[in-house]
C-alpha cells in the first residue's frame, strides 16, 4: 500500500469536500426548479466524468477515509454557516443527516448482519416518544438522547425471539407487523397523546436552548443551525462507530452470518448472538436519531412513523448500495432533499422513490455505490 503524504491527503480531501459543498450549496440556494434541475444534471455529469476518467477514484484514495470524513464534516459546518439564518434550509440539512443516521442503524442490521428491518420508522418513533416523555423531566438532554437509543434497543428486543426463528421474507414480515402494531399502539394510547401526538420542549444542553434564535458575534443565527451542528456531530459519531465495528472481528463475524449461516455455524460463530448484537446496535442508533429529530421538530404523532416512512428508509439503503456508507449518504440526500426542492414531485414522492428503487435494482443492483472490500485493520495496514 502506498501512503501519500499528509499534504496530498489533505489537498485531495479538501478539493472533494469543497466540490461537494459547492454542489450542495447550489442545490440548496437554488430558487427555481429549472436551476435545481440544471444543478442535478451538472452533478450527474461531473460524477460520471470523474468516474470514467478515474479522477474521482484517485482523489478518494489519496484522501483516505478519516481525512475525507473530517473534510466533509468541515464542509457541512461551512454550509451551516452559510445558511445560518435560513430555517428552512437548516431544517432540510438536519433532516437529511438524521435520516442518514437512522439508515446507518438499518445498515448495521441489513447490510452487515443480513437482518431485515422494515420498522425503521417505528424505532425512530420509539426514540422520539422516549425523548418526549423523558425530556420533560430533570434528566439532562444528552442522557435523554442516549435513553432514546436504549429504549429503542430494548423495544427491539421484543422482536428477537421471532426474528431468530425466521429469516428472509419471514423475518421482514415480522418487522412489518411490529411497525403496524407500534402505530396502532400509539393511536390508542392516551398517555402518549393518542392520534394527536405529543409536543416536545426542544433540546437543552447545559442551559443552552437549541430552540432559540441567537445573535453570535452580531450575526443572527437560527436555532435550527444548532440542531444542524448536533446532527452533524451525531452523524460523524455514527459513521465512526459503524466503520469501526465493520473493520473489526465483529464486522467479519456479521458478514459470515449474513453470507452463509451454515458455514458460519460450522466455524463456531453463534448466529443468534450476532443477529441480536446487530439488531440491537442498529435500533439504538435509529433511536438516538429519532430522539434528536423529535426534539428538533418539537412535535411527534403516530402519523410520522408509518410503514411508508420505514420503506423510505429501506429504499435509501437499496438506492445507495447495500453495504456502502458513501452511497448511503448520497441516497439520503436524494431522498430527503429532492422532493422538497422539486415541489411538483412532492405529491408523488413515494411513487418517485418506488420507481427509483426499481430502476436502481434493475439497472444497477449493487446500488449507486458498490460494496467495497474490508480494509485490513492490522498495524501494518493501519
Amino acid at each position: 500500500m502506498r501512503s501519500p503524504g499528509a499534504g496530498r491527503r489533505v489537498l485531495s480531501a479538501a478539493v472533494l469536500a469543497a466540490l461537494a459543498a459547492l454542489l450542495l450549496y447550489g442545490f440548496l440556494a437554488a430558487e427555481s426548479e429549472t436551476t435545481v434541475g440544471l444543478i442535478l444534471l451538472g452533478a450527474v455529469v461531473a460524477v460520471a466524468v470523474g468516474l470514467r476518467t478515474g479522477v474521482l477514484d484517485r482523489l478518494l484514495r489519496a484522501a483516505g477515509t478519516p481525512t475525507m470524513l473530517g473534510s466533509l464534516g468541515l464542509a457541512a459546518l461551512a454550509l451551516v454557516g452559510v445558511f445560518h439564518d435560513d430555517p428552512f434550509v437548516l431544517l432540510l440539512m438536519a433532516r437529511a443527516l438524521l435520516v442518514l443516521v437512522a439508515c446507518l442503524g438499518l445498515h448495521v442490521q441489513l447490510a452487515d448482519a443480513g437482518v431485515p428491518n422494515f420498522a425503521g420508522a417505528a424505532f425512530f418513533g420509539v426514540g422520539g416518544y422516549t425523548a418526549a416523555v423523558l425530556g420533560r423531566g430533570a434528566l439532562p438532554h444528552p442522557l435523554v438522547l442516549l435513553a432514546s437509543g436504549a429504549v429503542a434497543a430494548a423495544v427491539g428486543s421484543l422482536l428477537l425471539l421471532p426474528l431468530l426463528r425466521t429469516r428472509g421474507h419471514y423475518a421482514a414480515l415480522i418487522t412489518i407487523a411490529f411497525g403496524l402494531l407500534f402505530r396502532t399502539f400509539l393511536e390508542v394510547n392516551d398517555a402518549l397523546g393518542g392520534p394527536q401526538g405529543l409536543k416536545l420542549g426542544g433540546l437543552r444542553i447545559l442551559g443552552w436552548s437549541f430552540n432559540d434564535d441567537r445573535q453570535l458575534l452580531g450575526v443572527d443565527v437560527s436555532g435550527y443551525a444548532f440542531y444542524c451542528l448536533a446532527a452533524v456531530g451525531l452523524a460523524l459519531a455514527a459513521v465512526w462507530l459503524v466503520r469501526r465495528v465493520e473493520r473489526s472481528w465483529i464486522g467479519i463475524a456479521l458478514d459470515a452470518v449474513r453470507l452463509d449461516e451454515t458455514a458460519a455455524a460450522c466455524f463456531g460463530i453463534s448466529i443468534g448472538r450476532w443477529k441480536i448484537a446487530a439488531f440491537t446496535l442498529g435500533n439504538a442508533i435509529i433511536g438516538v436519531a429519532g430522539g434528536l429529530s423529535a426534539m428538533m421538530v418539537g412535535f411527534i404523532a403516530p402519523n410520522n412513523f408509518t410503514f411508508q416512512e420505514s420503506l423510505v428508509l429501506v429504499s435509501v439503503l437499496l438506492l445507495g448500495g447495500l453495504g456502502n456508507l458513501a452511497g448511503l449518504a448520497v441516497a439520503a440526500l436524494i431522498v430527503v432533499w429532492l422532493p422538497e426542492k422539486l415541489q411538483p414531485i412532492q405529491e408523488y414522492r413515494y411513487l418517485l422513490f418506488s420507481v427509483l428503487v426499481v430502476l436502481v435494482l434493475v439497472l444497477r443492483p449493487t446500488g449507486l455505490v458498490r460494496r467495497t472490500l474490508r480494509r485490513p485493520f492490522g498495524s501494518v495496514a493501519a
Partner: protein, 260 residues
C-alpha cells in the same frame, strides 16, 4: 468405554429424511492421528455422515463420542469448539470478502470479539489482526507461497484451486483435532489433486496430532494417502481396512467399483 486411541466413535448412528434412511445404524471408530478414507457410491451417506458429525443435522438415533465426550445433540458451534472442522463438497467461501476475512472466519473462536476491544482498543485489535495474518500466511504458504502473498485480495480473484486451498486453510485456522474433508479434489485436474493431497499430508506432518477423514471418489488418491478406509453403502458400513484390503473385498467390488 472406548480405547484411548480412538478419537471419534459412532454407535448405531442413524439419520432419516422422511422415509429415506441416509445413515442406518452406522458403527465406526476413527483413530487418533490417522487419515481415514470414507468411500462409497453416490448417496451412500458420506456427506450426511459429515453433516451429522458437525451438528448440521442431528442424528435420528445413535451416539457420537468425540475424545470420550458425547456430541450427538450438540450445536455445530459446540462441536467446532470441541475441535472438529470441515470443508464442504461445494465451496462455501464468502466470495464477497477477502481471503484474509475468510480465514479469519475459520479462526473465529480464538479471536477477541468483545465490543469495546473491537471499537476502542484498536491497537490491541491490530496486534491480533497481525498475529492472525501471520498464522494465515504460514498456512497458505504450505499450500502455495504465491497465494500467501495475496492475503488481502478479494476471494473472487482466486482461481478454483486457490479457493479449495483457502477453504482447507479456513478449516485449519482453528487448529482442529479432527478435520473432515468433503471431496477436496472435485473439479480439479489430476496434477492439482496430487499437489493438494501432498500439501494436506504436509499439514498433517507439521500439526502432529491432526486426524483427518477424507471423502473422495478418486481411488488413486485414496490409495496414496489414506491409512485406512471405510466403505459405506446405503448408509451402512460395508467393510473397512487398508485400501488393499478394501479394494479386494468382493462385496465392495460388486457394490461400488462395478467389477464382477
Amino acid at each position: 468405554m472406548n480405547a484411548p486411541e480412538e478419537l471419534l466413535v459412532c454407535r448405531e448412528l442413524t439419520r432419516q429424511f422422511g422415509g429415506v434412511v441416509a445413515l442406518s445404524g452406522l458403527n465406526l471408530e476413527v483413530r487418533r492421528g490417522e487419515l481415514l478414507g470414507l468411500i462409497g457410491p453416490n448417496g451412500s451417506g458420506k456427506t450426511t455422515f459429515f453433516n451429522v458429525v458437525t451438528g448440521l443435522f442431528p442424528p435420528s438415533r445413535g451416539e457420537i463420542l468425540f475424545a470420550g465426550a458425547p456430541l450427538a445433540r450438540a450445536t455445530p458451534q459446540r462441536i467446532h469448539r470441541a475441535g472438529i472442522t470441515r470443508t464442504f463438497q461445494r465451496s462455501r467461501l464468502c466470495l464477497e470478502l477477502s481471503i484474509f476475512d475468510n480465514l479469519a472466519i475459520g479462526a473465529h473462536q480464538r479471536l477477541d470479539h468483545r465490543i469495546w476491544v473491537n471499537v476502542l482498543r484498536r491497537r490491541a485489535l491490530a496486534r491480533e489482526a497481525d498475529a492472525t495474518a501471520a498464522a494465515a500466511t504460514e498456512l497458505l504458504e504450505i499450500f502455495d507461497p504465491p497465494l500467501a502473498r495475496r492475503l488481502f485480495e478479494p476471494m473472487t480473484a482466486a482461481a478454483m484451486i486457490d479457493r479449495r486451498r483457502v477453504e482447507i486453510c479456513r478449516a485449519l485456522m482453528s487448529r482442529p483435532r479432527l478435520l473432515l474433508l468433503d471431496e477436496p479434489s472435485a473439479g480439479m485436474t489430476a496434477e492439482e489433486t496430487t499437489r493438494l493431497m501432498d500439501d494436506i499430508l504436509e499439514v498433517r506432518r507439521r500439526f502432529g496430532d491432526l486426524t483427518i477423514i477424507l471423502i473422495e471418489h478418486e481411488m488413486s488418491v485414496i490409495q496414496r494417502v489414506t491409512d485406512r478406509c471405510i466403505v459405506l453403502n446405503y448408509g451402512k458400513k460395508l467393510c473397512e481396512g487398508t485400501f488393499a484390503e478394501v479394494s479386494s473385498n468382493a462385496e465392495v467390488r460388486r457394490a461400488y467399483l462395478g467389477l464382477a
